[in-house]
Structures are given as structure tokens and as C-alpha cells.
């Protein structure tokens, strides 16, 4: 059980949050093609080391958050609300 320090709620257990993982920007619908759209839907870097990912604090403030987490140690070095850089 990780501790995620929510910018609104403070330190909380990770089971209050839903993991959404890597997110790509949504392609422009009027101009997108299948290849681009499905890369957006399905393809993942799935990198090691530090990764940026989205979580949803569904059992807390219900805000969507961006985390920087280390994929091997699960250490978390930053949490911020989507759209607001820390």
C-alpha cells in the first residue's frame, strides 16, 4: 500500500486512488487517422525508471492527478493536479 500525498487531501493510502497510467494527448478528431488514433488508444512506452502517470483520487477529492513514480522502487517524487504543474 503506497502513500500518495494528494495536493488536496494530504497523505493517503493508494487504495483510495485508481491508476490510469500513461496518457497520450487526444489527437485532433477532425484530422486524425487510424494509426495515430490507435497509438493514442493502445501503445505504451512502459518505460523503466521514473515515469509520469495519471491517477484518480476517486475515494477522496475526486481529482485527477499526475504522479512521478519510479517503476522499480515505487517511490513517488511528485504529485500534482492535472492541468496544474507543481
Amino acid at each position: 500500500m503506497l502513500v500518495i500525498v494528494c495536493p488536496h487531501c494530504g497523505p493517503r493510502n493508494s487504495d483510495e486512488f485508481t491508476y490510469q497510467g500513461e496518457r497520450k494527448p487526444r489527437p485532433e478528431v477532425s484530422t486524425t487517422d487510424a494509426a495515430e488514433w490507435r497509438r493514442y488508444l493502445y501503445m505504451k512506452a512502459n518505460q523503466g525508471g521514473w515515469a509520469t502517470e495519471r491517477w484518480f483520487h476517486g475515494s477522496g477529492c475526486r481529482r485527477f492527478l499526475m504522479l512521478e513514480r519510479h517503476m522499480s522502487t515505487n517511490e513517488i517524487r511528485s504529485v500534482s493536479q492535472v492541468g496544474e504543474t507543481k
Binding site: C9, N13, D15, G60, C61
Partner: protein, 148 residues
């Protein structure tokens, strides 16, 4: 040690308000019947009379229990992971968190110095949560009043 008491206050009017309060998320103001708290930016819950402006009536959306006594935090921590230490969650603190697996709002509103918590699950979980508190409270000789 003061005994642990449980009261069902579900009938108290509760309102979702979207503006007009300075209360920060995770905190509350007032006490008892005129509490106002926030657990998320841009939304507040107010008890008592209907506030001005745009409101959503939450009276029937949430149950509301009040658990009072020195042992209240110990009981809550049987089923809820929140750190209720006075330094982290003093009287006046508010949170939405998991309580026995159910998303629940928790507001600490001490009564004459005795630790006291308002527990607000979604109404459909009310019966379940009552049973949980009853079961977990057995070891604290919790007295469940018959108010319903």
C-alpha cells in the same frame, strides 16, 4: 473512560454548495448543527437551513452518524486507514476516504472536549456501515441508540 456513543443523525438537512465559502478542502467551520466542510475544491457541504444560491439537497443522499468518545478513533481505525492523530486530524478536520471499503465523508467535530466524528456514507450503504460499526464496536461496549 467516557463511554462510546453512536447516534444516527441522517435526518439533519445537508446541502451541497458550490461557492461562497472560504473553507479549504479537508477542513470545516462551525460545529454541531451549522457545520460547513469541504473535501474537494469548489464544493462544500453545509448542515442545517438551506444556504443561499445554487444548492443540491444531499439530505437524502447521505446517511450521517455521530460517533463520540475517547475510543472513537480506535474503533474507526479498525476499518479505516486514515491517520486520526490529533496532529493530523484534529477537531475541525474533514476528509472523504474509505471506511470499511465504502467511500465515506468523515468530519471531526468534538463535543465538550470529547472526540466526536461525523460519518457520512452514501445512504444505500447506511445499513451496512451501521452493522460494521456495531460489530467492530462490540469490544468497546458501544451503545447503539435506537434513533432511526
Amino acid at each position: 473512560m467516557a463511554e462510546l456513543t453512536f447516534h444516527d443523525r441522517s435526518d439533519v438537512p445537508k446541502w451541497r454548495v458550490f461557492e461562497g465559502y472560504e473553507v479549504r478542502p479537508g477542513t470545516s467551520t462551525g460545529s454541531g448543527g451549522d457545520l460547513v466542510w469541504s473535501v474537494s475544491p469548489g464544493e462544500w457541504t453545509a448542515l442545517g437551513g438551506q444556504p443561499d444560491g445554487e444548492v443540491v439537497d444531499l439530505t437524502h443522499v447521505r446517511s450521517m452518524f455521530r460517533l463520540t468518545g475517547e475510543q472513537a478513533a480506535t474503533l474507526i481505525n479498525r476499518v479505516c486507514a486514515l491517520d486520526l492523530d490529533d496532529g493530523m486530524f484534529p477537531s475541525g478536520a474533514a476528509a472523504r476516504t474509505l471506511f470499511a471499503g465504502v467511500v465515506t465523508e468523515l468530519v471531526r467535530d468534538d463535543v465538550d472536549g470529547a472526540p466526536s466524528y461525523l460519518i457520512l456514507p452514501s445512504r444505500s450503504f447506511g445499513t451496512y456501515l451501521r452493522r460494521v460499526i456495531e460489530d467492530a464496536g462490540a469490544e468497546f461496549q458501544l451503545r447503539l441508540d435506537q434513533v432511526r
